[in-house]
């Protein structure tokens, strides 16, 4: 009895933690139990993240613009938007009927302040607005953004975390990172939320767009462990969730869940040292092409991803204007050709490449890379940089790297992988042809789409990368819930997760 009394007493003290029951009530319009594979890093809009964190932010904030399920830009807080002739001034017309949950009105001034704060906020995506000289509210419903140069992805950025609008009253709050004040469809219930574990949102009764409120309550529970997530799915504790791997997918569908597939990332090698700074061999395009031919991508897809994905030789995604289906099979597995290319380049006796390793990348995949390249005469020597993995990779310490990377929109992809200042162009490779295509794409207009196609072809021909496949990720939904995946985003946008009619 004493034992029980002590345990009960501790349970009572635990009440102060304010956790919630994670039991599922079904997706019938009452409560949505949404599984999340990561916690939200911050609710402060200026430092916010996106992708897997987007549902947290979309619950409590509105964005200036939105995107539909094809990726096309749609109105959000801004009902209209217009560029000037040279695409360096963007004028936004802001809704006048929106209130923050603190009761204050959302106006152009609040929007402009949020844009400047995001640019200066040292958040993970602050670079999205680095090109913005200023954002000014020219009247209560008009914001004028001035840009240093045209930015083809600016409207997309404004439909993501760069476009989140937080109440100015929260800017000086000491709780800004954990207590959001927005104008979104839901309000975070801080009493029932356990930071890092479960987040409870209740319907915002005065939301301006009730058609996007499909539930009275949303509970987002974090499952960072695959076994716990699988058990939660099997036990019916979530109505919908992203998945942590493809291994458990069969068991999830076996439990009555529907898989909603999305090809979001590409897996393969990024051959960064095209200048030959660290590894002179990689300067020779024939060596880089040999690496592409060395991989049996079909077998790797089956082995590593249970066959869920599409083999490819290009980094641009299938929804890109630059996508060319024929480039998916540009480099088909050919050991003899790989060896011949190495011999032609003067490396008949082999090449050694230094690459970073990490347990997070999967030892089996790293071993496969080593084995497949060894078969054509390329020796891979791994070094584990530990916690400095990303810093060392983007800092140019390794000539090549294996890391699955997001595809995203064309301009985002260019800024992430290709441009001379892109983080994953670690050796700042500059190429007049590539720079010419990038300039055309940045300028916009009728030549832009063709320039993306040409750039993609050029990168494949010159083997800037050695892609294997586009990985299929899956968002699963139970029998009571539907979801439409969002191109370029890890999870569906929150308003596209609905009770099944």
């Amino acid at each position: 009895m004493a034992a029980v009394a002590v345990v009960v007493a501790l349970g009572l003290t635990g009440c102060a933690a304010g956790n919630s029951d994670t039991s599922s009530t079904g997706g019938s319009g009452g409560t949505l139990n949404l599984g999340q594979i990561i916690t939200v890093s911050t609710f402060a809009a200026a430092q916010s993240n996106w992708a897997n964190e987007s549902p947290y932010m979309q619950a409590v904030y509105d964005t200036i613009l939105t995107a539909d399920t094809t990726g096309a830009i749609q109105p959000g807080l801004a009902t209209a938007w217009k560029y000037n002739a040279d695409n360096t001034v963007l004028t936004l017309t802001i809704r006048s009927d929106v209130k923050f949950t603190d009761g204050t009105a959302l106006d152009a001034s609040a929007v402009a302040q949020n844009l400047v704060r995001f640019r200066d906020g040292a958040g993970p995506n602050a670079s999205y607005l680095a090109n913005m000289t200023d954002a000014v509210a020219t009247d209560p419903t008009t914001v004028t953004m001035t840009l240093k140069a045209p930015d083809p992805a600016m409207l997309t950025y404004l439909s993501q975390n760069a476009g989140l609008v937080e109440a100015p009253s929260a800017f000086t709050s000491p709780d800004i990172q954990t207590v959001p004040v927005g104008s979104g469809p839901y309000i975070l219930d801080t009493a029932d939320t356990v930071v890092g574990t479960s987040y409870v949102f209740t319907k915002n009764p005065s939301y301006w767009n009730p058609t996007n409120q499909h539930y009275d309550k949303i509970v987002m529970s974090v499952f960072s462990d695959p076994t716990a997530l699988l058990n939660a799915v099997k036990g019916g504790q979530v109505n919908a969730t992203n998945t942590l791997n493809n291994t458990d997918l069969a068991q999830m569908t076996g439990a009555g869940f529907t898989a909603n597939p999305l090809e979001l990332n590409w897996a393969g090698l990024t051959l960064m040292d095209r200048n030959g700074t660290v590894d002179p061999a990689l300067k020779d395009v024939r060596v880089r092409q040999a690496i592409n031919y060395a991989f049996d991508t079909s077998s790797m897809l089956k082995t590593i991803e249970n066959g869920l994905g599409t083999t490819t030789s290009q980094v641009f995604p299938a929804n890109s204007v630059g996508y060319d289906p024929s480039l998916d099979s540009e480099y088909t597995f050919n050991v003899a050709k790989a060896k011949q290319l190495l011999a032609d380049a003067g490396y008949a006796n082999g090449v050694t490449i230094q690459m970073p390793s990490s347990a997070l990348l999967g030892q089996a995949t790293l071993t496969l890379i080593q084995q497949q390249l060894a078969d054509v005469g390329i020796t891979v020597e791994y070094t584990d940089p530990g916690n400095s993995f990303i810093a060392d990779v983007v800092g140019g310490k390794f000539p090549a790297v294996y890391i699955p990377l997001q595809q995203g929109g064309d301009w985002e992809l260019i800024q992430f992988l290709i441009s001379p200042t892109a983080p994953f162009n670690a050796f700042h490779t500059t190429d007049d042809t590539v720079n010419g295509y990038i300039a055309t794409i940045q300028k916009g207009g009728s030549d832009s789409d063709q320039a993306v196609k040409d750039l993609n072809k050029y990168l494949v021909d010159n083997a800037w990368f050695a892609p294997w496949y586009r990985t299929q990720s899956n968002f699963v939904t139970d029998a009571n819930t539907t979801a439409v995946v969002q191109p370029g985003n890890a999870v569906p946008y929150l308003w596209n997760i609905k009770p099944k009619a």
């Binding site: 345990v7 635990g14 890093s41 958040g123 993970p124 356990v194 574990t197």
Partner: protein, 313 residues
């Protein structure tokens, strides 16, 4: 007694300061580019530098430690770099959850182990062999496998419990009990195995002592001899094992909380350590050290209460 307690508390404070210093140094030595890890792969070098400066990471390590320590002694353990939550709030919201699991598992271990250990020691023969087999199995099977088995059988197949999650007592007492039942059992089984063996051995030794023979010759009942006299003497070593196991269970809770998605210290410890959330890890180190110091002190006091022969000074 008071002097003993004060001395133990003083040594505990020294221990905590030493542990925090070593932990701080180790965390920073192995943490790499912290700002880059917080911001991820998409951030530019400029943003990373700006973030590092805003966190004060460009200052010498001893300055950063001095800053942390001066705030820590006032109860301010900083803010999590990855969730923005004050570290003290992150820990206090979870410590009761973990302690309810660990104390529950310890108490169940103690009760079941006393019953089994005494039974085996008194009866010997097949009950003794059975208890020993059970103990070996309890030792041999890893806690996470037991946890997974319990989930599979009692949550997924029989639907008696929820496979994951934690319910606050205030929300639903029955829900709370249901939510901690499987995790407590998973944690307790290993403990039962260890303490049972200790109690069995101690009771067998005590039963051979002269004082037991004397007590029996005076006509005391077997139960009174066992539970009033033998267990008092045999309980000392068992308590020591329980104390060690309590600390061990704090570590064991890491895996169990992950499997059951329970918002305790173990779950947050895994996440914070994986991410390199230095303020949160430091807070967890300090709180865990405090718990260990306090538990050891309580066990010492309990030993003295059970057996006056134990000289505290």
């Amino acid at each position: 007694m008071l002097r003993f307690i004060l001395r133990r508390l003083a040594s505990g404070v020294v221990l905590i300061v030493v542990i925090s210093t070593v932990a701080f140094a180790l965390l920073y030595v192995g943490s790499g580019d912290i700002a880059r890890r917080i911001l991820g792969q998409t951030a530019t070098a400029d943003t990373v530098a700006q973030k590092a400066a805003s966190l004060g990471l460009n200052r010498p390590l001893y300055v950063q430690y001095g800053d942390w320590l001066s705030h820590a002694v006032t109860g301010n353990l900083g803010i999590s770099w990855f969730t923005g939550q004050p570290v003290m709030a992150a820990i206090t919201s979870r410590v009761a959850v973990t302690l309810s699991l660990v104390i529950g598992a310890t108490l169940i271990s103690a009760i079941v182990a006393v019953v089994l250990g005494v039974w085996a020691a008194r009866r010997r023969s097949w009950p003794d062999r059975l208890v020993q087999v059970i103990s070996v199995l309890g030792f041999a099977i890893p806690g996470f496998l037991i946890a997974l088995g319990l989930v599979l059988v009692f949550a997924i197949n029989l639907h008696w419990f929820k496979p994951t999650g934690f319910v606050q007592f205030a929300t639903s007492p029955s829900g709370w009990l249901a939510s901690i039942t499987l995790p407590v059992i998973a944690l307790a089984i290993g403990g039962i195995a260890g303490v049972t063996q200790q109690i069995r051995g101690s009771v067998i030794d005590a039963l051979r002592q002269d004082y037991v023979r004397t007590l029996r010759s005076r006509g005391l009942s077997a139960n009174r001899v066992i539970y009033k006299h033998v267990l008092r003497n045999a309980g000392g070593p068992a308590l020591a094992v329980l104390a060690v196991q309590f600390v061990g269970l704090l570590g064991g809770a890491v895996i169990v909380e992950q499997i059951f998605a329970i918002p305790g210290l173990g779950q947050v410890a895994v996440t914070a350590t994986t991410q390199g959330d230095v303020p949160l890890v430091m807070g967890l180190v300090v709180v865990t050290a405090i718990i260990v110091v306090v538990v050891n002190l309580l066990i010492d006091l309990l030993q003295a209460f059970l057996n006056p022969k134990v000289r505290l000074s």
